[in-house]
Subunit: 299 residues, 2 copies
């Protein structure tokens, strides 16, 4: 698998196990697609599927996903804590290896046009694939949610990028886009003082002057009696883990506090860890091609 | 590929490209085997093949290798700088993932018995698979080389583990065994003083009191005007890269010398780099299952 693009669609069903499995099975059945994970949240009434493949395989996977999801999910009967606007709510494409962000933007457009044409679902392109700055932010697109979209779409500024000017009766609308891989990364501090975690979060996050691709906040880990800087690394290639780790370590030391450890929540591309090894071991001329497993993935 | 064992046989042919390609093609043609690399050294008149698979696939791969190599290589007409005792000189099995050293020892025995039976080539088990301490070291087994083996084998202490008590007329004998993955790792120092590299090599190597799984020597990099501690990491799980790197850094600092960088020569298992990232980022609860590519290799 020379080209690996990840697709992480969110569907508006997190309670009906049979329906979720039906959608998962539809994706799993597509040649060239590897379904890696399905996570459902009953409170949100929402599931996240993670699958990978190259561009043509993912287009087929997204078609299969929509066919199955539209047959089983009716937003007119949907309730959950998480805001939503579609039966398939959002479809992000994420470059992992052998594919660029531009490839994923192109894939978003192709898949978006196809979804609109085949299923009559209006499509909004978002993040890196957005057709306007105002559509970059998914939360902005989703405002009004399923119930408010017929009204919202009358505004010419909210004409969809593809498909009809009204929401699909049962499936609403969908956002399709491209974004970098997001790593959920936490750094734990040897103190119970939340104010210190908050100050460090403020120091490292983009919003308040920190690293461009870092979102962060302080969190109390009551059971361990410590605090944590909870981080979303929104572009680990441009803002790598080790740089953020060292910055947090330095800021914590200024408060006389040690870093207990850090943790990666969920999955990470191998590249993010190779970069840390490369940095600390000062590796010269390292390429991922030197990793045995990389060679095994190339066929 | 849940189970990955690596097989790195050395054959006594490094000049005749057609013969080498024939042997490589035989291995490549075996289902379940992935041939990753073929490196030939004309001066040594020797080639190293690297392929991976699970145990049954590797047994089939080794059968195919022997059939092709014995048809093309005649040691009675072989000369080269590297000591050798067989047309297929040595066959090591190396656990990479989903297989233990014990699995590779068992595989050595099975493959060894099969080679002796099918091809009439005497087999010596070595390293982790050795039937006696005196046979652990490959250099000890190889002493006398092809030309001396008929004589050497008359000594009961050198009866083979499998096969006849005399060498195969054209193919000699072979060593089959199991060993950990060897990483060739060099650390470059900001000095031209070879004595410093030598002293540090001495400090870290097993032979003179250093780490158990480290072989090391000082080397001059004349073109760069610096020196290098050239290292063989013979068991990166028990003596990891970062521990050796930090030790070299500390020893170099004692001489007022900085570490310029380090380099991995050839291939490394991803695990060796994950371990470095885990160490420096102080990762809590990390498992290779969190790496996206690891999931892709599991099928």
């Amino acid at each position: 698998m020379r080209t690996i693009i990840e697709c992480v669609p969110n569907i508006s069903e997190g309670r009906d196990g049979a329906a979720i499995e039906e959608v998962a099975a539809a994706v799993r059945g597509v040649a060239g697609v590897r379904l890696l994970d399905v996570s459902s949240d009953p409170a949100h009434n929402r599931s996240v599927l993670t699958f990978v493949g190259d561009a043509p395989a993912l287009r087929a996977g997204v078609r299969a996903l929509f066919a199955a999801a539209l047959a089983r999910i009716d937003l007119r009967r949907h309730a959950g804590e998480h805001p939503r606007m579609g039966a398939v709510d959002v479809v992000p494409f994420i470059p992992i290896r052998g594919a660029s962000m531009e490839d994923c933007v192109a894939l978003s457009r192709e898949a978006g046009a196809e979804i609109a044409e085949r299923f009559g679902v209006p499509v909004y392109l978002y993040e890196e694939a957005a057709s306007a700055e105002t559509r970059r932010n998914l939360a902005e697109i989703r405002k009004g949610q399923f119930e408010g979209f017929a009204e919202k779409m009358r505004d010419p500024r909210w004409a969809p990028d593809f498909g009809p000017r009204q929401p699909h009766p049962s499936a609403g609308v969908v956002a399709v886009g491209a974004r970098p891989y997001l790593i959920a990364y936490n750094i734990n501090l040897a103190t119970a003082d939340l104010a210190i975690a908050d100050r460090i979060a403020k120091a490292i996050r983009h919003l308040s002057g920190g690293f461009r691709y870092v979102k962060a906040m302080g969190v109390s880990l009551a059971d361990r009696g410590i605090v944590q800087v909870s981080i979303n690394m929104t572009n680990f290639r441009k803002t790598p883990l080790h740089r953020v780790f060292e910055c947090v370590r330095s800021e914590a030391a200024r408060h006389g506090v040690a870093v207990v450890g850090s943790e990666i929540v969920g999955l990470t591309p191998a590249e993010a860890l190779f970069a840390a090894a490369e940095h600390y071991l000062r590796l010269e001329g390292f390429t991922p091609e030197q990793v045995l497993e990389t060679k095994l993935l190339e066929e």
